[in-house]
Symmetry: C2
Subunit: 473 residues, 2 copies
């Protein structure tokens, strides 16, 4: 009710152009009215409880929602119902088929010389051990590089243990190295005749909740059974090896259930605009099975839905259509994102800008554009509008998030609202990813930034260029 | 090598008495040489790695060591070997018989309306559910008092859920209320015809590691199966109840194994003194089965053993004998402590002073005496010597720790070196009780205080009185 109509902005913007031309000054990127609207959106968001309500609802009423599972299907129904209740339009589930994997049983223990249980979780797509488990000597490698450089023989019948720790960083830059370890340890172990691989979890905490995560994406089962130890258990195994006079043997039992093909889907809803140009935002609806997916990625679902709702509540339609996508099956192999890119491949020129919220629930500290080179200047007014939220201006290196990766690689420009991830990998992919870890005021800051950015992206004149098409999609 | 002999102190103290009488001033409690020795013990301790080495060895090489288990027996052998290697004398295992309980399987899940797993652990001595588990509606009580005040009917066939939170305090004063909930929930539930009880863990953290702990000590199995939810899971169940339109049903499966009688034991070793008067210190050797018992109570074992070793390394014998006891089976019912009191009941007049370290690995912040009233003044010089370690002087309310409870109630005076427990109940009785949670320099501060106190208790003239014999031992 407090907002001027979007149509008025368009009229003003239209008027502004000739004036600018007359005075030879560049057209203002945002009219004064638009700037006031941005400020009001921010004010509203900082006092808005919708994102928290959505997050609490999703994590409580659905809880864990593994890609391809029956729980993920319930989450899709939840998403449809919420979007409907909130007044979104064109709500639908865009389905696709995917392979399914779930853990059935996972146990690890030191058998000798210091018998005791270890906290271990199977990595996604881990193959199974023989029923009842396998027992073998452990060989420790300090880093993934050390394993990759090891001779091709000498590990036959052994369990490989890659003990590489992960760096704690604000921007998550420790994750790349960690993912390499997580996805390659079983491959390198298998190459060398090992019977299983264990890694120190890709995580920065010291709780006995190991971090799961994907093995090799889209490449079938891991070569050998693949588990992750919690950081304290990795410490313990390393100490045991150090203190033992002879070999340390470990028993692993990993049992899994797989299906060749199950149905999953992306949930889509829209705030219709005056044009059919699209600003696409969202999060992923699936989570790993161990926690309730509050920070990964219930928060992204809640933040982007609440931000779109705020823009939808403005008087009049936005210029462009705001599309919220709740992507499916991200964790287990980006199945939803790849299906979206395939299903919308003839429609991508309508995709003006895209971004995903998928880095937890921490405060946003930087806006990075990922625009076509010729339109980079358009980031500046967007960034300026976010300064009151203590959000810094970043370079044109945004990647937009994992689920917009496939359409980005087909040319769609993106943006990244970078969240503080200092503590993200304490919780990521563990049972500890639960609602109590989220600060409601941090969520509100996120909603404010998203609402402001999508509103500006909707209203600004012209587009954000196109990105070079990547050959490796 | 740097220390004067204990015999010299005795001579000096003997000499000091008449001098004091001559001048009408009170006898100095510690000679200057003794004070110098105390300071040197503190200096040595702050630079000593023995306690850490012991703690690392125990938690790595033995790991979890449930009272009465084969692992606890291995821990006793570990204790004997370590005491021997360190030069202790009169090393022995004093055995006793006890009933045995262990968890075999524990699972909980919300069945409807929001199906998902819950992180739950069985409380010690929990009775088992029927094989395959039981499913029932949950009835929530905000506090234990609310359950205790509930009518005697109306809970037939239900699962009682006591959702009372625990206070975070430095001195552990939140634990009394928490223990009442932990031990009484199943009793009060059973009285009212409920089929099981669940409590919010007696813990202050927000990780999905529920806190186990004793049910009713020494009174057989709990009345109904008794579990504890982690704090995030208790939140989740409370939210589910709040959000559900109808009843919330939960499935619990707790399977246990018990034996009527197994052997356990206390490990005892001594630094022989010039007299057969005893200063008795120690920790408990057993731990709960979920963690490796680093803070509860490997730290106590390590601190007191290292402190006694430092005193034993002084030139000459201490005046009194320093006895280190590694009590067995504390967690599951104080079996070791009660056996010690029974086995030494004719010998207690030799027990001049006793204290246990059993409140984690945090820094000591206060010395509380628990002396006979007529000797309270003797605390002052001990406390003064600890001021350089940032240890405050407390009142004469020390209880000495759980394992000296039985001999305290038979009259033996005690002391408490109070440790900072602000974070203790984040880890206590969970899988997270592991070595990485301990700060080596905190351990050294503890060793320094213990070495100073036992040295002073050994050398001071006269005793510490006797405590009134309690009728309820």
């Amino acid at each position: 009710m407090k907002f001027v109509s979007a149509a008025a902005f368009v009229a003003f913007a239209f008027l502004a152009q000739p004036l600018a031309a007359q005075t030879d000054a560049p057209a203002p990127a945002l009219s004064e009215q638009q700037q006031r609207t941005v400020d009001r959106l921010i004010d509203m968001a900082l006092d808005d409880g919708l994102a928290w309500e959505l997050l609490e609802s999703l994590t409580t009423e659905i809880g864990p929602r593994l890609g391809g599972s029956e729980a993920e299907a319930r989450a899709r129904d939840w998403g449809v119902k919420k979007l409907k209740d909130l007044g979104f339009k064109n709500i639908r589930i865009e389905t696709y088929e995917m392979p399914y994997w779930e853990r059935v049983r996972e146990e690890a223990e030191i058998v000798s010389p210091f018998p005791q249980k270890l906290a271990m979780t199977a990595l996604g797509r881990s193959s199974a051990t023989p029923e009842g488990g396998l027992t073998a000597e452990v060989v420790r490698f300090r880093t993934m590089a050390e394993l990759a450089a090891a001779p091709e023989t000498g590990l036959e019948g052994k369990i490989v243990f890659v003990d590489e720790p992960m760096a704690r960083t604000q921007d998550g830059s420790g994750y790349g190295t960690a993912v390499r370890k997580r996805s390659m340890a079983a491959v390198e172990a298998g190459k060398r005749g090992a019977v299983a691989s264990l890694i120190r979890s890709a995580g920065t905490d010291f709780h006995r909740n190991p971090h799961t995560g994907g093995g090799l994406r889209g490449q079938g089962a891991t070569v050998v059974p693949a588990g992750a130890l919690s950081n304290p258990d990795a410490d313990q195994l390393a100490r045991a090896i150090e203190r033992a006079d002879g070999p340390v043997t470990v028993k692993l039992n990993i049992q899994v259930r797989t299906e060749e093909s199950v149905q999953s889907g992306n949930v889509v809803g829209e705030i219709p605009g005056e044009t059919d140009e699209l600003i696409v935002i969202g999060g992923h609806l699936d989570s790993w099975d161990l926690g309730t997916g509050a920070i990964d990625d219930g928060a992204g679902i809640a933040i982007t839905t609440a931000a779109a709702k705020l823009v939808g509540d403005l008087r009049g339609k936005p210029k462009r259509t705001i599309r919220v996508v709740m992507w499916g099956a991200e964790e287990v192999g980006l199945y939803g994102a790849r299906a979206y890119a395939e299903q919308h491949k003839d429609d991508l020129d309508r995709h003006i800008l895209a971004g995903e919220s998928d880095f937890g629930a921490g405060r946003i500290y930087r806006f990075d554009s990922g625009f076509g080179d010729e339109t980079v200047a358009k980031a500046a007014p967007m960034q300026a509008a976010l300064h009151r939220l203590a959000i810094a201006s970043g370079p044109n290196v945004g990647t937009g998030g994992p689920d917009v990766g496939p359409i980005r690689r087909l040319g769609v420009p993106v943006f990244t609202l970078r969240q503080d991830g200092t503590d993200y990998f304490d919780l990521h992919h563990t049972p500890d990813d639960t609602l109590d870890k989220v600060d409601p005021s941090d969520i509100q800051q996120n909603v404010a930034a998203w609402a402001a950015v999508i509103y500006m992206a909707s209203e600004m004149e012209g587009d954000f260029g196109r990105l070079p098409v990547a050959s490796d999609e």
